[in-house]
């Protein structure tokens, strides 16, 4: 140990500053990772459309519009150049959706992509909507054949006593192979298949959504690539008290 009071206070200063420097470096790494986690896109906030009468009573009605695209370049959801993975399928315009609590939420999804077969046939069924159905291009259905699906929109979350459970599964009808062939050649998006569905929200809480259709081509069970990259085929649903 250093001799003398002056020497030892110098040592103490050096030690304290070094520890603070170390803390600063670690905090800097944390800040960098946090900014890398934020893709800078504004969330999709539901628009309020007055009140509506439902079998569960009169409640606010909220509307959300989403699209699911065959690649990021055509979606515009990751920047004009398609972002870091222009070839990945993606939902758009953002993967964070904000909806009000204790409301009927109606979501319209425009589906532009083709598809093959689901890994798990269960996700061909409509689950958790207000009346157990969805409408596809105007037609009301309760399920799709497991080989007619382009993607699914599946909302789920952590069961916890602090928020109401929420589970919704919507399979989206795929575009035909001819239509997708034309897209591959021209890069021009086809006419979308429009799916509309509604569900009730309970109390405020945070949930997640992801696609259950294997669209991560070239990877095991096709669940890698876009499927495993947050922000493309996965995101959050935040239920807030007031929009």
């Amino acid at each position: 140990m250093q001799a003398g009071a002056k020497g030892s206070s110098k040592v103490l200063l050096s030690a304290t500053l070094s520890v603070l420097l170390g803390v600063g470096v670690v905090a800097g790494v944390g800040y960098k990772l946090n900014s890398a986690s934020d893709d800078g896109r504004a969330p999709v906030v539901a628009t309020m459309a007055g009140n509506i009468d439902t079998p569960k009573g009169n409640m606010p009605h909220a509307i959300v519009e989403l699209g699911v695209y065959p690649d990021s370049l055509s979606s515009g959801a990751h920047g004009a150049d398609g972002g870091s993975h222009p070839g990945y399928v993606t939902y758009g315009p953002s993967n964070v959706i904000v909806v009000p609590a204790h409301s009927l939420v109606t979501i319209t999804i425009k589906g532009y992509d083709g598809g093959e077969t689901l890994n798990a046939p269960f996700f061909g069924k409509v689950v958790g909507t207000s009346d157990g159905t969805m409408s596809v291009n105007g037609k009301v259905v309760t399920e799709l054949n497991y080989d007619q699906v382009q993607h699914t929109f599946t909302i789920h979350g952590l069961p916890t006593s602090m928020q109401d459970p929420l589970f919704v599964n919507i399979p989206l009808l795929k575009q035909t192979d001819e239509v997708m062939g034309a897209f591959d050649e021209t890069g021009k998006l086809p006419e979308p298949n429009i799916t509309t569905f509604s569900f009730y929200t309970g109390s405020a809480g945070e949930y997640v959504w992801n696609c259950e259709y294997p669209c991560g081509d070239g990877t095991y069970a096709k669940f890698g690539a876009a499927m495993s990259k947050y922000g493309y085929m996965s995101g959050k649903v935040t239920v807030v008290e007031h929009i």
Partner: protein, 617 residues
């Protein structure tokens, strides 16, 4: 032999020899060149848009980095010269041993075991720093429900890369710095059995560390450190970095293991028969001897994963007849012996320290050896206790439970040896000795919770929960890392010539140990409540336990920073150390600092074991 003092001997300068021009810098340059060249070559054959072909390109480029670096630093000059019939001259060999080169020899392919020991120490410190930073990120993300710091993808990468970085760091933390620097001097040898292989094992580890770090630039890994298939086959490009790093690391540790074992068997000083070998040497040897059969299965498991990812074999793909259970077996046949590879040297260091600071002989060294040997032997028979819940073969859960519970018996002998050494002594509570007490507390908790986990009905609840995470941190960090830090504090005077700053050491010790216990006692609670492990987010029920763990983590992190400051400050201007500050009786304390190139002016003759302390009443 020629004189051994650095001061009077001029630096040998073999003229026109390539080895004088090569160093870490040329290694890095050549490594980058090779990897870039391989990358462009591979891109000409394969399409990076297709995942499987992208894996091929990256895997090849990463291997090219490793091999290119080793060529660039001159690792293969010795064998190459031998092949062409123009062996290295003795002047060249002296140069390679770092004779008279000062600090620059630490950045070269230097065969002096003391240099390699310091290189390992720096490498371990870097890995612990990186792994520790990742741990702070993990705990910060879990400070409250909602995963607000990072996305789940980045979180999973943090967890997996923290795990593998720390595991690699802990495997080498005791046998690397101390097994290389101290062990040969401790047995009275002039160097290790294979000095060039010694340098090779360190520089291979360096290339593996760099490769592992590159995973972050390729999107990280979605798996834990266990890299279970088939998730590892599904994983993105970052997984290739993990696979290549492990393959290189497995070779590096096999080389190091062969080196240590041969040195201890063949190069002990005259008179050091089997009853007089210090316990650290025995522990380190048993540990690396256990690693030699175990680590190749890890390497094999990764090679198969690489084949699945690059050429579409089906080792782990159940669609074509493969199975994830194959991976689990190969991994855990390595994985369980490996945790004892980590534990035994740390414990052996503490057993080396206790007699010195209590001034009593090591109690029942035979029980200590039996304990280590029993643990090492049994550890090969227990691996499927990590697979109780896998559904692989429920009827075999019983036999594996039996073998696993039996490990508690040799483990108990370790406690007996330490307690027997402490009993009726008055310990001198310097930092190394304090760590012995920390070990006793931490390993007691770690060991007993291990017994809960080895019981199948309890494991059906606890497997895959934070309880398991807390258990293995208690044993790996609370026992093995504590032992290694004790070793650093103990041997710091001999490795650097200076005393480690005492007060900073104490402050760091208490911050780290108290913080550590807060983290993982909170984690036992979270696991008991039902929180799974490796989760970026959790239900509100676990909020209090996780908050407590995070606060403990910050305390531990700060404590480790204090230790880092103490090491750096003391290394540069700590108090100059006497030759034998602790009054220890092992051979390494008989040599002066700076230690001569070949350690001893005259090879010592040993006439008794190193634990001749104690009055005889």
């Amino acid at each position: 032999m020629t004189t051994l003092s650095n001061k009077t001997h001029s630096v040998p300068m073999p003229s026109k020899s390539l080895i004088t021009k090569l160093n870490m810098g040329t290694g890095i340059v050549f490594g980058i060149l090779c990897s870039q060249a391989m990358y462009w070559l591979a891109k000409g054959w394969f399409d990076p848009e297709v995942p499987m072909e992208e894996n091929r390109i990256l895997t090849l480029a990463m291997f090219a980095w490793c091999i290119g670096f080793l060529i660039g630093i001159g690792a293969f000059i010795g064998p190459f010269r031998w092949l062409i019939g123009k062996d290295l001259t003795s002047e060249e060999q002296l140069y390679m041993a770092g004779e008279g080169q000062g600090i620059s020899r630490y950045f070269k392919y230097c065969t002096d075991h003391k240099v390699v020991g310091i290189q390992y120490l720096i490498g371990v410190m870097v890995m612990l720093g990186a792994g520790g930073t990742m741990a702070m990120m993990i705990r910060t993300n879990l400070i409250q429900p909602g995963s607000r710091l990072v996305t789940p993808e980045i979180y999973n990468s943090l967890v997996g890369l923290h795990g593998i970085t720390m595991i690699i760091a802990l495997i080498v933390v005791s046998t690397g710095p101390f097994g290389n620097f101290i062990l040969p001097i401790m047995i009275g040898a002039r160097d290790m059995a294979f000095p060039r292989l010694n340098a090779l094992s360190w520089w291979m580890l360096f290339t593996a560390i760099v490769t592992l770090c590159s995973a972050w630039f390729y999107g990280g890994i979605p798996t834990g450190w266990t890299a279970y298939a088939p998730l590892s086959v599904q994983a993105g490009p970052g997984m290739n970095a993990f696979i290549v790093a492990i393959i290189i690391f497995a070779i590096s540790s096999a080389i190091a293991g062969a080196n240590i074992t041969t040195t201890v068997v063949a190069m002990r000083a005259k008179g050091m028969n089997l009853t007089r070998i210090p316990i650290f040497v025995i522990g380190a040897t048993i540990s690396v001897a256990l690693a030699i059969p175990a680590f190749p299965t890890f390497m094999a498991s990764q090679i198969m994963a690489a084949f699945d990812r690059t050429i579409g074999t089906g080792y782990y793909d159940a669609n074509v007849g493969g199975s994830g259970w194959l991976y689990a077996h190969l991994f855990w046949i390595m994985g369980h012996p490996e945790v004892y590879v980590i534990l035994i040297p740390g414990v052996a260091i503490l057993m080396e320290i206790a007699p010195v600071f209590v001034r009593k002989p090591l109690f029942s060294i035979n029980a200590a050896i039996l304990g280590f040997a029993g643990i090492a032997g049994l550890s090969i028979l227990v691996w499927a206790h990590h697979m109780y819940a896998s559904g692989w073969s429920p009827s075999l859960n019983g036999p594996f439970m039996v073998t696993t519970e039996m490990i508690s018996i040799p483990t108990g002998l370790i406690f007996l040896v330490l307690l027997g050494t402490l009993w009726r002594g008055t310990p001198w509570l310097k930092l190394p000795m304090l760590s012995v007490y920390a070990f006793i507390w931490n390993f007691m908790i770690g060991g007993i919770t291990g017994i809960y986990l080895s019981d199948v009905p309890a494991d059906d609840y606890l497997h895959g929960s934070m309880f398991v995470t807390a258990h293995f941190h208690y044993t790996l960090m609370g026992a093995a890392l504590t032992g290694a830090i004790a070793g650093l504090a103990f041997w710091f005077p001999k490795m650097t010539g200076r005393m480690l700053h005492e007060r900073a050491g104490y402050i760091s010790f208490w911050m780290v140990q108290i913080g550590f216990n807060i983290i993982f006692l909170g984690m036992f609670a979270a696991g008991s409540q039902g929180q799974p492990r490796r989760v970026a987010d959790y239900a509100q029920t676990f909020a209090v336990s996780d908050l407590i763990s995070t606060i403990g983590a910050y305390l531990t992190g700060a404590g480790m920073l204090v230790l880092l400051w103490a090491v750096i400050h003391s290394w540069r201007n700590g108090k100059i150390a006497p030759t034998n500050p602790w009054g220890s009786k092992t051979l390494e304390w008989t040599v002066p600092y700076p230690i001569p190139l070949e350690n001893f002016h005259e090879t010592p003759v040993v006439t008794s074991d190193a634990y001749g302390y104690g009055r005889s009443n």
